[in-house]
Amino acid sequence: MTTETMTRARQRDYTASELLAVMAGRLLEDGQVVFAGVGIPLLAATLAQRLHGPGLTILFEGGTIGAFVEPGQLPPSTNEQRCTRRANMVLSSTDVLLLLQRGYVDIGFMGGAQIDQYGNLNSSFIGDPENPTTRLPGTGGGNDISSLTQMIVAMKHEKRRFVEKVDFITSPGFIRGGTSRRDAGLPAGGMYRVVTDLTVMGFDEQTKRMKVLALHPGVSLEEVRDNTGFPLLAADRIETTEPPSERELQVLRHLDPDKLYIA
């Protein structure tokens, strides 16, 4: 891609959050069972349902199976009645989390405050956990989801968020890489994809380190590395993603007209 085309591509008519939601939604496949967190994951999963996955089953931590969230009626967490809109089943939050443990879920889909090169997520403490700079809200179901199923994480690509070692492992990725996740007692699941407003990443099969698989239009590998606090691997052939289509943006904005999650 030339500098010119890159510049052109960056003159985009969508926000970083919109790009993130569209790119994340594309990773979901029709027929999958997806356990979605609040915010971009909920929005992206609903977008996928409307665009290419009418048979995509969304689970919410509050206790919902097979919901179809209503446009303009996004819930403030995954525990309010809006989450149960046109749901197939409502069950206890403990029982819906147990579906992860029983193996019913294909994909866990979450946001993240801080992530490291092995895909470990921190949503508990910035700084020393005993004396934190910032006490974050904590795991919620994040730890359970990341411990028990394949994960897609959607987050903004910033150096302070992509750190070599998280201050605290709230939700385990591949822990210290290699077989350490399995050795810790987590034989199932693991990080599958990290999608950001710059790139789509996977993990190296052996070392379990984060690896760039695709770049969004107009983004260079250098730019991604500049915004990442650790050395990133790169696939032999890096793909370029298709820019968000009119239709994708239209449906997305229809879903979140108040810009609750795509501000």
Partner: protein
């Protein structure tokens, strides 16, 4: 060896579990809670929060309540801010993602004036479930390899005696009292809940005492026409308080949605200055009003009608 189990049974055996009326006021129910009690709170985040009962406990000047809930929201901040609680056990604690990280939660935990004990969401559920089942622990497969587990001396990792694999055992949590809000129950405490149930059934059965608040009290005859809709049996319930809009400004499934304007106002108040903000909010909305009805009047009829209109249309199609 079995003292803890016998003590648990003793506390249940000594409760009056007969079919009897137990309707009382918020203030009478609050008197059932002692300073230092372990208090389990029903609902989750903004949903079916037993707000009226929490409001009554704060007004009654309770201290050192050790509170547990699947996910804590603004009710946890009121408990911290009022000094009613210095310890919460939960998986997530903030007003809600749309309002950013709660300033009051940060103020109290970062200054160590209060403790936020973090378990995974499923672990909280397993702890209530073990308590409800009358077993000392339950096994589960998450939290391993995480910092969350490392900070929890009460959980244990074992090698499974059947399969050899690694498991976490989490101990039963039997709160002294559970506060649960439901859409309807009878005067005996047979509670029927619609929609999302969260961990409330396990919590109710785990607790050594249950205080039910309810949108409305219905006849026992109505309960008996659909006994499979009863989610908490009368014999597990010690107090019934009828409190319409008892979750405000949070939601009650199928009855009203959250009072978003009020919640935005609250968020704005604590964003500027968490200490002063929460103090101001408590003065105006918790200590100020003479009754729950007066509290609702302060929030305003317009918001009540709007929340109820939104709440009732959940299955309109």
């Amino acid at each position: 060896m079995s003292e803890a189990y016998l003590e648990l049974r003793r506390r249940t055996a000594e409760r009056d579990r007969s079919l009897r009326e137990k309707v009382m006021s918020l203030e009478e129910a609050a008197a059932l809670v002692k300073d230092g009690d372990k208090v389990g709170i029903g609902g989750s985040t903004l949903s079916r929060t037993p707000m009226a009962m929490i409001w009554a406990l704060i007004r009654a000047g309770k201290k050192r309540l050790s509170c547990s809930r699947s996910i804590m929201s603004s009710e946890g901040e009121l408990l911290f801010g009022s000094g009613a609680s210095e310890h919460v056990l939960t998986s997530w604690f903030s007003q809600g993602i749309v309002w950013g990280v709660s300033k009051v939660m940060r103020l109290y935990t970062e200054s160590k004036r209060a403790r936020f004990e973090e378990w995974s969401h499923m672990a909280v559920g397993m702890r209530f479930k073990a308590g409800a089942m009358g077993v000392p622990f339950l096994p589960m497969r998450s939290m391993m390899g995480s910092g969350v587990l490392a900070r929890l001396p009460d959980a244990r990792q074992i090698d499974c005696p059947f399969t050899g694999e690694k498991l976490v055992l989490v101990p039963a949590l039997n709160p002294d009292v559970a506060l649960i809000h439901v859409q309807r129950c009878d005067a005996f405490g047979n509670a029927q809940m619609d929609g999302l149930q969260f961990m409330d059934i396990d919590l109710a059965m785990a607790a050594n005492r249950v205080i039910l608040t309810t949108e409305r009290i219905v006849s026992n005859d109505q309960i008996r026409r659909a006994p499979d809709q009863t989610k908490i049996p009368f014999m597990a319930v010690d107090a019934v308080v009828e409190v319409p809009f008892g979750c405000a400004p949070h939601e009650c499934y199928g009855v009203y949605e959250p009072f978003f304007k009020h919640l935005d106002m609250y968020a704005e108040l604590i964003r500027k200055d968490p200490a002063k903000g929460i103090a101001h909010y408590l003065d105006r909305y918790v200590y100020g009003p003479k009754s729950w009805t007066e509290y609702l009047s302060l929030i305003g009829v317009e918001e009540m009608l709007d929340a109820a209109r939104r709440g009732r249309r959940i299955h309109d199609d």
